[in-house]
Symmetry: C2
Subunit: 113 residues, 2 copies
DNA sequence: ATTTTGTATGAGCATATACTCATATACTTG
DNA sequence: CAAGTATATGAGTATATGCTCATACAAAAT
């Protein structure tokens, strides 16, 4: 995106859609709960504190976006992170926010702004 | 986010908000237009093909999120990318999408799925 | 076959936000 | 000061999407 030719409208929509999928706290919580490996829906409901219906919908959204993968075993369905760039994306954003917050704290402490 | 302790609800909101800011095609177009350096609003309106009002709003959103920085010079206002992680984020997502698309193309070509 | 357990989904509501039009504000120039 | 130019914003509308309740579906157990 930097030195490459500008993206087409279609590509921009895809990139935006990608970011949109990550733009929900509950979905981030699910991703976080899956960093250590796959879990079934019931476990994810417990880990996140959401309702079963809502978690199921978010899992569908994440799976449709190829962020998560699905494996069915009997009654249970196990989800896992299937896109290796997801952890990197989250780390980048977290790091950036930490910096931004400490900068802000420093400014407040110095009475600036 | 991976080996670190799980994020607080507040932190999750911030991360989600960050992704949300990047989840609009027009804002991505603006970011793209700023990869080569700062530009004023009129230039950005021309580069993106949007209306002045809409571009102004998106610039405000991006600036409030500390993605862009603002510099006023006389009548004009110049915007620039102020968060160095933005290009990396976009590259990560683009790369991931390219892979995903070529995989899909390969599957279609092989008659799989 | 019926019941139980785990997961998905249809329908409806509430909220957020992208967009536009018109107008306001800020600065410059005549 | 008046007029012009660059940017921002209030108000209104349309659309998307997150959430919930109830129920459907699928597989297992009795």
């Amino acid at each position: 995106m930097s030195k490459h030719s500008p993206l087409t409208d279609e590509a921009l929509e895809l990139v935006a859609r990608r970011f949109a999928v990550l733009a929900e706290p509950m979905r981030l919580r699910l991703i976080q709960a899956l960093f250590d490996g796959e879990r079934n829906v019931t476990e994810l409901v417990e880990a996140t504190g959401g309702t079963q219906a809502n978690i199921s919908r978010h899992l569908q959204t994440l799976t449709a976006a190829h962020v998560l993968g699905r494996r069915k075993d009997g009654l249970q369905v196990f989800y896992r992170i299937s896109d290796p760039t997801i952890p990197k994306l989250c780390e980048l954003v977290c790091g950036s926010l930490e910096k931004s917050l400490t900068r802000q704290a420093a400014h407040l402490g110095a009475g600036e702004q």
